[in-house]
């Protein structure tokens, strides 16, 4: 069975290491915060100006002045810090953020990513995504393996306007876990019940299967 969104987030959470500063994008990446492993302390960065993002507030405690980059109401934690947008992207640009998790429309087998624009259709803008992908040391993409038409989102070359060039390090989809390598997508894990043949059929970019490929565990 292909993973659901919660399971994709749960698998990505296993990549978190104690002491990491992490920026989670909108959508599936936001869910990663729900699965931070026991004993692993990470600090979540929200690029609108907060380090130490806490959970959603209890009903009635929402504060319009305290939101995350997805404009959701949030809370702070002991040790949180506020700052302005220039400093926020300063720390991102300077490589202080250890891991960025974001969604994508397309990823190419060289690590290119496209997630901000569909010419003639969608013109919402890139927000902070271009800054994040240009600077983050480690970028994991969380996305569905195929688009609603069933076409592969893991491509030899992105067809949509790029957000960043050769920057993605790892992709976690509903079908498996893939490192970006010189040889293209390297399949490290497959989702429980998903066959390697299905992954091969649904991956348009260059694909190699790791010798020790294994079934994903949570």
């Amino acid at each position: 069975m292909a993973l659901n969104k919660e399971q994709i987030a749960q698998r990505i959470a296993k990549e978190l290491q104690d002491g990491f500063y992490v920026n989670l994008g909108i959508g599936i990446p936001t869910l990663v915060a729900n699965y931070i492993p026991e004993g692993v302390n990470v600090v979540l960065q929200s690029e609108n100006g907060l380090l130490g993002m806490g959970p959603f507030p209890f009903e009635g405690d929402e504060d319009a002045d305290l939101i995350n980059a997805g404009k959701q109401t949030i809370t702070t934690l002991p040790g949180s810090a506020f700052f302005d947008s220039a400093m926020s992207f300063g720390m991102i640009r300077a490589g202080k953020v250890d891991l960025t998790v974001l969604g994508a429309m397309e990823v190419a087998d060289n690590g290119d990513i496209a997630n901000w624009k569909i010419p003639g259709k969608m013109v919402k803008g890139m927000g902070g995504a271009m800054d994040l992908v240009a600077a983050a040391k480690n970028i994991i993409v969380a996305m569905q393996h195929t688009n609603p038409k069933g076409e592969s989102k893991l491509l030899p070359k992105c067809s949509l306007p790029l957000t960043g060039v050769k920057c993605v390090k790892k992709v976690v989809t509903d079908l498996g876990v893939f490192d970006i390598t010189e040889e293209g997508f390297r399949c490290l894990e497959h989702a429980p019940g998903v066959t390697i043949d299905e992954i091969k059929a649904k991956t348009a970019g260059r694909l190699v299967i790791a010798d020790d490929v294994k079934e994903m565990t949570f």
């Binding site: 209890f58 992207f89 800054d131």
Partner: protein, 232 residues
């Protein structure tokens, strides 16, 4: 020195059609609600607005879009606004989308007196088209120019007659750097306190950057995505 003005209508005196304005805020968080309402009342048009977002259909800069007062938006993200999208696709509105960190830093550069900066975001993408590229330590960077604006309009939590400002929580966002980047900077505050009440240690924006200040009224502080959890 008296920077205090009575209200938003007085604060925006001198803003004319065709000018370039910076407006602080992230989404609807920390936006200058009173001045936006005053700009709608004044009816100035052909404005170029530099702001991270364009509000929603019926709030924030969306109110100015409804009245067709904006000629061009310079933003990083303009979702959540159907009227914006309609005007854009019909060609009534120009838009320049730029990466969020680049937007913040171009404002900051202006306030620090730097004409331009080299930034990473957008290298190898369509954002880089027409921009000077320079390699430092093996990495390519884009030359990005400081932003100029005729007026910067920001929203703070507290301020005093000297123009000193303190922001609250994530409502700080773009406000401090836009405050630094206006030829004339207008600050609307929730609370105008007597000079001396703000401790010098706590001031986020020193008053030298602020030319006009007033205490706003009737803040709606709309929430775009109200997300909560249940108590047990």
């Amino acid at each position: 020195m008296n920077k205090v003005v009575a209200n938003a209508d007085e604060a925006i005196k001198g803003i004319e059609s065709g000018m370039t304005l910076m407006l602080g805020g992230f989404g609807l968080c920390g936006i200058p609600e009173n001045c936006i309402a005053a700009l709608v009342r004044k009816g100035v048009n052909n404005l170029t607005c530099i702001s991270n977002n364009a509000g929603v259909d019926d709030f924030g800069i969306g109110l100015m879009l409804q009245q067709k007062q904006v000629k061009k938006m310079i933003s990083s993200y303009v979702g959540e606004n159907a009227e914006f999208e309609r005007q854009l696709l019909s060609g009534e509105l120009e838009v320049e989308l730029i990466p969020q960190g680049t937007l913040a830093t171009r404002c900051m550069a202006s306030g620090y007196g730097m004409p331009a900066v080299y930034l990473l975001a957008g290298v190898g993408t369509e954002v880089a088209i027409g921009k000077e590229v320079r390699n430092f330590n093996g990495k390519d960077y884009l030359l990005e120019y400081a932003f100029d604006s005729d007026f910067a309009i920001v929203k703070a939590w507290k301020g005093d007659a000297q123009g000193n400002l303190v922001f609250k929580d994530t409502a700080r966002n773009f406000n401090p750097m836009m405050a630094m980047a206006g030829k004339i900077t207008i600050a609307e505050v929730e609370e105008l306190v007597p000079v001396g009440e703000l401790h010098p240690n706590e001031i986020h924006t020193p008053g030298i950057y602020v030319h006009r200040i007033f205490q706003g009224t009737d803040y709606e502080k709309r929430i775009e995505q109200r997300t909560t959890r249940k108590k047990n």
